[in-house]
């Protein structure tokens, strides 16, 4: 078992598919970096009014997280319906929690 | 809206008289015999929702009884296999829709009343009292009046009084069942609620948020008096001279003992705002001692000697040197004579 060298290779068709997938992943990564840079630049330069800046950077974060979840973590794939369901459930509970703590703790 | 509610209430009352009468509770303590605006609002909803609920319960119980009588296993049919019914769209729709309608009947007046009781628009031209909850006593500061008092809250009858409530330690809750529902008293946010008593009298108040060992002993009173009496009371309270010496000698001794033992570092007499311990300006007029004991000299002596035995966990225990029974009795004499006004819980009760 330990000396197992596993020379068996995935077939070439699969390899090609994996490669295409990987290219998409790299593109998402580049986009994520770009979004990050935009967010930092907006804040560092202070070009925007603070309400708008907050809105913008939050939206950028959401898009970025979408990339992570759907591409890097494959939530877009067909066989991920249960994981997706549980993530949506978690996100739903998360939104409620955030709304409560953010809005109705001080009055 | 009101008229409709009123009629409904009258109707429901008929049905529920037996129920309510049989278990009404103590006057001016129970929530079932409301004598204030807020308590009225709550009571209307209690009655309305009870009636709707009794209706639902009746439906459930009728079906239940029929089922149990008709479909119990019978002799000779032990092995009967009933038809395996999957469901019935119509029926299922019916028992989805009807509850929704019933709930709406409750929901609409609920929301109306909720907004009504949260209305702060009249606050600026009403009497405002700053309420502070403390382990285990209540402090009342009449805003803009230079009147401070503890444990007994005097209000004019038939007037909206706004309470601006904060806690100095843990969370408490201000509850006078017969006049109004409760409202929490938090340490970080001020809560505003208004109360309005419809009849003169002394109403029992209780702390309703778990606040420590003596939570069950953190009672207070709301003393509702006529507007004239109230003005009189405010006047009397404003004219208290904290330095004034009592008339008889024992009480005078009591006063100096009171000062020697540093009681004033926590308590206050007059309108100064010290709030570590209750304000004692009208102590002799109080309805009760420590919120729960009869206000007698003997009880007061016991309290001064060992407050822990009466209210476990209170903040007075251990704050002053031991006093002898004799000293305690002199201090008690002094305190019992702090009776600045003729307007008292007793006078309000009659």
């Amino acid at each position: 078992m330990a000396e197992n060298t596993n020379s068996n290779q995935a077939d070439s068709f699969q390899k090609q598919k994996n490669k295409e997938e990987m290219q998409k992943q790299v593109i998402s990564f580049v986009l994520m970096i770009v979004l990050t840079i935009i967010a930092f630049v907006v804040v560092a330069t202070g070009v925007m009014d603070s309400m708008f800046a907050k809105f913008l950077i939050l939206s950028l974060a959401l898009v970025q997280v979408g990339f992570q979840l759907y591409y890097f973590m494959h939530m877009k794939d067909k066989d991920h319906d249960m994981p997706a369901a549980m993530m949506y459930g978690g996100i739903w509970a998360a939104i409620l929690t955030l709304a409560a703590l953010g809005v109705i703790t001080w009055w | 809206m009101k008229g409709w509610m009123g009629k409904l209430r009258a109707f429901c009352l008929l049905g529920l008289t037996a129920l309510v009468l049989s278990a009404c509770g103590k006057e001016n303590l129970t929530a079932l015999d409301p004598k204030g605006y807020g308590a009225d609002q709550s009571f209307n909803l209690i009655i309305l929702s009870t009636v709707v609920m009794l209706f639902v319960l009746a439906v459930v119980m009728i079906v239940y009884t029929i089922v149990l009588i008709r479909y119990r296993k019978k002799k000779g049919r032990e092995d009967y296999i009933p038809k395996q019914v999957e469901g019935n769209k119509t029926l299922e729709t019916i028992w989805t829709i009807i509850p929704i309608i019933l709930l709406l009947i409750i929901a609409v007046p609920t929301i109306t009343a909720t907004f009504d009781l949260a209305d702060e628009s009249a606050a600026s031209d009403s009497l405002n009292v700053e309420v502070t909850g403390n382990q285990y006593w209540w402090h009342f500061n009449y805003e803009g009046q230079e009147v401070q008092t503890s444990q007994d809250l005097y209000i004019p009858v038939g007037e909206k009084v706004y309470l601006n409530m904060m806690s100095s330690d843990v969370i408490h809750s201000f509850w006078v069942p017969t006049i109004a529902g409760k409202m929490d008293v938090n340490p970080e946010n001020e809560n505003v609620m208004y109360i309005e008593a419809q009849d003169e009298g002394v109403y029992w108040g209780k702390c309703a948020e778990f606040c420590g060992p003596s939570h069950s002993l953190m009672d207070f009173k709301v003393v509702a008096v006529s507007q004239e009496e109230f003005d009189q009371w405010v006047d009397d309270m404003q004219n208290v001279d904290a330095e004034e010496e009592p008339a008889d000698a024992v009480a005078q001794e009591g006063q100096s003992l009171f000062e020697e033992n540093n009681c004033m570092s926590c308590h206050a007499i007059g309108s100064s705002p010290a709030q570590i311990g209750p304000n004692l300006t009208n102590f002799g007029d109080r309805s009760q001692l420590a919120g729960v004991e009869d206000l007698t000299k003997e009880n007061l002596v016991d309290w001064i000697m060992d407050p822990e035995a009466i209210k476990p966990g209170n903040k007075m225990t251990g704050q002053y040197p031991d006093v002898s029974e004799d000293e305690a009795s002199k201090i008690a004499e002094y305190l019992m004579q702090l009776q600045p006004s003729d307007v008292t819980p007793e006078s309000a009760d009659n």
């Binding site: 549980m86 459930g89 509970a93 409620l96 929690t97 109705i104 001080w106 009055w107 | 009404c24 509770g25 103590k26 129970t30 929530a31 079932l32 308590a39 709550s42 929702s49 609920m53 639902v56 459930v60 079906v63 239940y64 149990l68 479909y71 296993k73 009967y80 009933p82 395996q84 019914v85 999957e86 469901g87 019935n88 029926l91 299922e92 028992w95 989805t96 709930l103 409750i106 929901a107 929301i111 909720t114 009781l117 949260a118 843990v170 969370i171 809750s173 509850w175 529902g181 409760k182 970080e188 702390c207 309703a208 778990f210 606040c211 420590g212 060992p213 939570h215 069950s216 729960v292 476990p312």
Partner: protein
């Protein structure tokens, strides 16, 4: 190993077996014993509470001790009695119902149990170490932060550990249901108890993290001087209330949904009818769970959140009455036209309908904000939640125990004693709690150590206490019954109630691999279908072959023990430096065990086909 050979083994061997077991059926036994033990403890605390309140200004217990009693009663009952008993029933039955040989993570399953047990023990150690927690089961800050002594610290550590166990259990059930259903067992063919197990686990998954965070904040404030709830440094105690109830309300549905499942099985079985409106029942369950997350602030109507928030939460709360009503009416419709036999499980189910309906009704009544200004924190609320928790969850646990006792232990309970338990408990229950509605409205707040003389609260409290004695009697009869069954109980066949679902095709109690061959499921009520349209038992979905089984392991016990020790370390490092030894030592035991687990491959073992053939039915 068959039961017979198990009985021949010595006590030590049996003990070791249970300490290391990863078999879901044995873990179920452990949960039932652990939960049962804590139920008695919580019950004892309840009886002490009731004795204190038997007359005005009683001094049976001191104020401080009363607060400890009521806190531990609530905490113990909810976290250490009701939930573990339900998890025990789920463990025992759900894998059988979906035709699985095991759960997805047998090792984690056992870890979940030991964490619960050690968490519960840690919490209860507080009794002997300077006093139990005394800030209520809700532990509202700042009272819980300022509470002197270590009581609340034990609350924090105990619940944290037990809560981790519950979370693990929840994930385990979820994955089991997703990946291990027998062929043909589609989601919409799952028995309702399995469905409610699934939905309950979802609730556990999303609700417990909020409690975890809340407990961490409380722990940091108490043990490490942070300022989350310290108003002086800008803290805010309302955060605790939100976090607690974001967990707390889903928690009450965690307590009720499984018993909805149990009753659904019982009504169908004892009416000899298919569950009416199965699809609606499933969706109602999901809806309740969904709404369950949007209503928590109904515990906070008097906090001062403002009329808008209060109205929204009131509406959401009332909405839950609709799916719950669907369930009640579907159960009635299941019985309608049936051939009802009233054995004890059915008796509990029949007792549940009116009781829970009343509890639900008072639930809707407390949801009407302005009326709740009166009800809140009074005995009306105490009455409400005991009607749903005792009249729902506890009745359901009793029903489930009586119903599945043959499957779990292979013996029948004595029917006469069963009935005696039911009637005394049922009557005692209503005596205790019905009157409390009125006590609340007559001005009796909850968590009151004493009520005063002359407030017309005496009679009600006396009746209430007498009721509690009836309940005690019922519980004691049940205990005797359990012992009686173990010693003299009648051994039973695989299917004593003429059941409808797959657990009844396994032996009573089931062999440790559950099914020799995984059954093929052809529809809802898989067994019933075979009884009425087939050969009487499902066709196997696979040829007889080797069965893969997990190995037993002592590591879950060690990991939990490590945390248990570390818990003391956390609590006492505030006062003593030596406590760091416990803290780091305990953590080392836990992490070391984790490391061993991850480094040592554990592929399990196989039961060879020949052996299975030998163990003929």
């Amino acid at each position: 190993m068959s039961i017979a050979s198990a009985q021949k083994r010595g006590f030590g061997a049996v003990l070791w077996d249970y300490l290391t077991t990863v078999d879901h059926k044995k873990i179920a036994h452990l949960y039932l014993f652990g939960g049962g033990f804590f139920f008695l403890l919580g019950g004892l605390e309840a009886v002490a509470i009731r004795i204190q309140l038997i007359k005005p200004e009683n001094d049976f217990v001191s104020a401080g001790f009363y607060n400890e009693l009521l806190t531990m009663h609530g905490t113990t009952m909810i976290f250490l009695a009701a939930m573990p008993l339900l998890l025990g029933l789920m463990n025992a039955i759900m894998p059988l119902q979906i035709g699985a040989r095991d759960v997805a993570f047998p090792f984690l399953n056992s870890l979940g149990f030991w964490l619960f047990l050690f968490g519960g023990l840690l919490l209860n150690c507080s009794w002997f170490l300077g006093g139990a927690p005394d800030a209520g089961w809700t532990a509202y800050a700042p009272l819980s932060v300022t509470s002197p002594g270590h009581g609340v610290d034990f609350y924090v550590m105990g619940l944290q550990i037990a809560g981790a166990g519950t979370l693990i259990g929840g994930i385990n059930f979820l994955v089991t249901i997703v990946t291990m259903r027998a062929p043909g067992m589609t989601y919409m063919r799952m028995p309702l108890f399995s469905w409610t197990t699934f939905v309950t686990s979802v609730l556990i998954l999303f609700a417990f993290p909020a409690l975890t965070v809340g407990l961490f904040l409380l722990m940091f404030d108490r043990m490490f001087g942070s300022a989350f709830f310290d108003v002086g440094l800008g803290g805010n105690s309302i955060i605790w209330q939100h976090l607690f109830w974001i967990f707390g309300h889903p928690e009450v549905y965690i307590l009720i949904l499984p018993v909805f499942g149990i009753f659904s099985e019982i009504f169908a079985t004892f009416s000899k009818k298919r569950l009416f409106g199965y699809t609606a029942m499933v969706f109602a369950t999901i809806l309740i769970a969904f709404f369950g997350f949007m209503v928590w602030a109904h515990h906070m109507f008097t906090v001062g959140l403002g009329p808008v928030a209060n109205s929204i939460f009131a509406l959401a709360t009332m909405a839950i009455a609709v799916p719950t009503g669907i369930k009640i009416f579907n159960w009635l419709a299941t019985m309608w036209g049936g051939n009802i036999s009233i054995k004890t499980p059915m008796l509990w189910a029949l007792g549940f309908i009116p009781t829970f309906t009343i509890g639900g009704m008072t639930g809707v009544m407390v949801a009407t904000v302005v009326a709740d200004y009166q009800y809140h924190d009074t005995y009306f609320v105490v009455a409400h939640f005991h009607y749903v928790i005792v009249g729902g969850t506890v009745f359901g646990i009793f029903a489930g125990l009586v119903y599945w006792w043959p499957k779990i232990f292979g013996r029948l309970l004595h029917e006469g004693m069963n009935k005696l338990t039911f009637w005394t408990f049922f009557i005692g229950f209503h005596l205790t709690f019905f009157i409390q509605h009125f006590l609340g409205l007559m001005g009796m707040p909850r968590r009151y150590w004493v009520f005063l003389e002359g407030q017309e609260l005496d009679l009600g409290n006396l009746i209430s206490t007498i009721g509690a004695f009836f309940m005690t009697f019922g519980v004691i009869v049940f205990l005797i019954n359990a012992v009686y069954a173990a010693v003299k109980g009648e051994k039973v066949s695989a299917d004593p109630w003429d059941g409808r679902t797959l657990e009844w095709i396994t032996a009573s109690p089931p062999v440790h691999y559950n099914f020799k061959q995984t059954p093929l499921v052809r529809g809802l009520d898989a067994l019933w279908i075979e009884k009425t349209e087939g050969k009487g038992t499902p066709t196997p979905a696979e040829p007889l072959g080797d069965i893969h089984m997990p190995n037993s392991s002592f590591l879950p016990f060690m990991m939990s023990l490590g945390l248990f020790i570390a818990g003391f370390g956390f609590i006492y490092q505030v006062d003593y430096n030596w406590a760091y030894i416990l803290l780091f030592g305990g953590m080392a035991v836990m992490l070391g065990s984790m490391l061993i687990r991850s480094v040592k491959d554990d592929h399990g073992y196989h039961i060879p086909k020949v052996e299975l053939e030998r163990e003929a039915d």
